[in-house]
């Protein structure tokens, strides 16, 4: 074993192995040493970069500077009424109009959405998105809507002296401007003014409630009923209605005032209406407890003519006598009005706006002759009840007109604002109820169609500047005639 060991140590193979190992270690050591020894940075031969030659575009047409192409600003004429005092308007900042559109919701539950029905729905039955919803308040009637139409009565019935004069219109304008300024720019709006049979549209369709449109709308409203001798509307909007008298109980010619304005706008299908009116119907008796109804014009005219003919034929002498009394009274009325307006001119007040010619006479305690009484019913073929539509007929007309347009959408939200003349209250219910005053009729209608009703708190009636003596004026007129 020992002999064998010596043999291995002494062999050439061992020597070769040692040399080989020495070489490997030397090479490895050299490599490591090279890594740690700092090298001299290698030098590159930098060639000079050739710059790219800028090629000119070979354009077939003659070019012009962009700045020169911008057109110069031009004056654009607007058909809207120019604002005389736009700075006074309280228009909210543009930032207030912006609101994020809400996300649609699932039809039913989420599981239902995943498994069965993949329809997405939006909250309102009228709108597709509620991006343009505005919260509005007009004389305490509140609504939220994306499409809104405002109908406003601007007739003499709103602004006569017993209502409070032109101050009432200012009151309406102030609340209207608050309402308009609350509306966001993404809400669609339109305004229609009416005066008995006349209606006027602000625009032929909905307009966005932008700052510009709102300013124009407010100025438009402000340009009406500015002077006591220039009240109400002068022009009319021509509307084409279908002539099917049997479908609705009321004839088209008898649909006036707020119902006419409503009918003309139903095609737009707004979600919300604001209707400001002074009366229910086209016939309102100021001497009674505001009895108001819609008359059948042609039958009414026929009835009144036949009634008058009946009086003349039966009570001819009495008729002539009373007629003279009324003629004299008319002269006194004109004199009284003249004196009153002169006195108001001195005080720089508006002239008197009378609802009825007898207003100034009764305010100065004039004596009125009684008109000829006729036994009821008089011997003519028409009954007085034939001359007017029943309340039910008017309800059916309103309901039919609305639902014909809205159909499956259901009834829109209607807010009524009633500017009704102050009168002494009738405490006898049996007398007030059957007479069917404007207020009573609107209350009934609101209950029926789930609408809202508010009354405007009117200012005090305008008192006359001078107290006039009926007899003195009468004497004065008689003496002047004698001279």
């Amino acid at each position: 074993m020992k002999k064998k060991k010596n043999k291995i140590i002494g062999s050439t193979a061992v020597i070769i192995s040692l040399v080989f190992h020495f070489l490997i270690i030397s090479i490895a050591g050299g490599i490591i040493a090279l890594k740690f020894i700092k090298k001299q940075p290698s030098t590159f031969q930098i060639e000079e970069q050739k710059s790219i030659e800028r090629r000119k575009l070979d354009l077939p047409v003659k070019t012009e500077s962009f700045v020169n192409k911008i057109s110069k600003p031009q004056i654009i004429s607007s058909k809207n009424i120019a604002s005389s005092t736009p700075d006074l308007l309280d228009i909210p900042n543009q930032g207030e109009f912006v609101k994020m559109a809400p996300l649609p919701t699932f039809q039913g539950s989420y599981t239902n959405f995943i498994k069965k029905d993949r329809r997405l729905t939006f909250n309102s039955k009228f709108r597709e998105i509620d991006f343009g919803i505005s919260k509005m308040d007009f004389f305490g009637t509140k609504s939220s809507a994306e499409k809104v139409i405002i109908l406003m009565d601007v007739s003499k019935k709103i602004v006569h002296d017993r209502m409070g004069g032109l101050e009432v219109y200012k009151l309406i304008y102030d609340d209207f401007s608050i309402l308009i300024n609350e509306i966001r720019s993404s809400t669609l709006v339109n305004l229609i003014l009416f005066d008995n049979e006349k209606i006027v549209f602000f625009e032929d369709s909905f307009i966005a409630a932008t700052t510009n449109n709102k300013t124009n709308m407010l100025n438009w409203v402000n340009s009406i009923n500015t002077e006591s001798w220039n009240i109400g509307l002068k022009s009319d909007y021509k509307t084409n209605y279908s002539k099917n008298d049997f479908v609705v109980p009321m004839k088209q010619e008898d649909i006036t005032g707020w119902i006419k304005a409503l009918q003309a706008t139903l095609k737009f299908k707004p979600e919300t209406y604001f209707i400001l009116t002074s009366n229910w119907g086209n016939t309102t008796d100021p001497t009674m407890s505001n009895v108001s109804y819609f008359s059948k014009k042609s039958i009414m005219n026929k009835y009144l003519k036949e009634r008058n003919d009946h009086i003349i034929s039966k009570y001819e002498s009495e008729y002539d006598e009373r007629k003279i009394e009324f003629d004299n009274l008319k002269l006194i009325y004109e004199k009284m009005l003249d004196f009153e307006n002169n006195a108001r001119d001195l005080m720089l007040y508006d002239h008197k706006i009378s609802h009825n010619w007898t207003d100034i006479l009764s305010e100065n305690n004039a004596e009125f002759p009684y008109w000829i009484n006729v036994e009821s019913p008089i011997s003519i073929d028409i009954f007085p009840a034939d001359t007017r539509y029943t309340y039910d007929e008017v309800l059916e007309t309103i309901y039919t007109l609305i639902m014909k347009e809205y159909g499956h959408l259901g009834f829109p939200r209607i807010n009524f604002i009633l500017a009704e003349q102050r009168r002494p209250k009738f405490y006898n219910f049996s007398e007030t109820a059957p007479l069917m005053t404007s207020r009573f009729k609107f209350i009934q209608l609101c209950r029926m169609i789930d609408a809202r009703l508010r009354r405007i708190n009117l200012p005090d009636p305008i008192k006359n500047e001078i107290d006039q003596n009926f007899n003195e004026i009468k004497k004065n007129i008689v003496s002047n005639e004698e001279i």
């Binding site: 049997f246 009825n356 007017r388 499956h408």
Partner: protein, 290 residues
Amino acid sequence: MKKFKIILLTFMLSFSSVSEKKYFSNTSGEILDDLLIGFNYETKDATFERSGKIPLETFSDSDKEYILKWNETKGFLSSFRFKILLEKKRWDRTKSERSRTPFYMDVFEEPFDEHLKHKVTLADDYEEYNSISLETHGFEINLKNQNLHKINSIIVESKIIYEKQRYETSNSLFNSEKNQFEQIISSTISNLKRDEIPSLMPGEDITLYSAAAILARQILNRDIIIDQNLFPTQEGVLKGFGNWEEHNRERRDKLIGVWFRVGITNENNQLVWRNKASPESLMDQSWDSY
């Protein structure tokens, strides 16, 4: 008789599923004299009575259009692949009622007066009850395209038919005694509505609505509320106003039904309709008769 009707219907259906056109041309202008009996929308192969299946691309552009329109019409007319569902709805209802003392109100004008004056006499011995119920009825139609291809330019027309009533006389107290007081005049009203759908995609459905039928029910009851034997009645107060126990009248509108017709233009540029009515007996008369 019923069997005969079924056979006739089957014959008509089978007849309607064969094209009227006899001659078809290919892109080279060659003419094929055959009857088109089917089309596979997935493979785009047209099937002919004698020639069998021929790829659509073989045909000229006008014949390609014809074959596709023929297939679209066939898909529209199939009650399995183009479903029409009808549903009756009451969209709104409301009521107003009141009890009050009836009155006679005369109206007159005084000289120079802008406003009419009134004179009221209450009929205190009587009581009046008025009520009006108003309802809006309508129909919804749901169209569902279960074809593999879209259906274009669909026209939907509907007529909702109802009977409207009105009284012959006004509700004047003095009319109460007349025989005509309770008489009513009836008239049939038909409200037409037309919708156009540009395209209905495969698997898509759409709901459309008929026009509204507004139905009214109006009641007027007038009763005497005193004992006529103990107290004198209103005759003295209202001259010519007689004595009566009670006077009532009622009118009630009635919904008759709805007729929907859904149509498209076929391969021969003619309108083809599918009809749906409730009740179906409405279709016994012609569309124009309503």
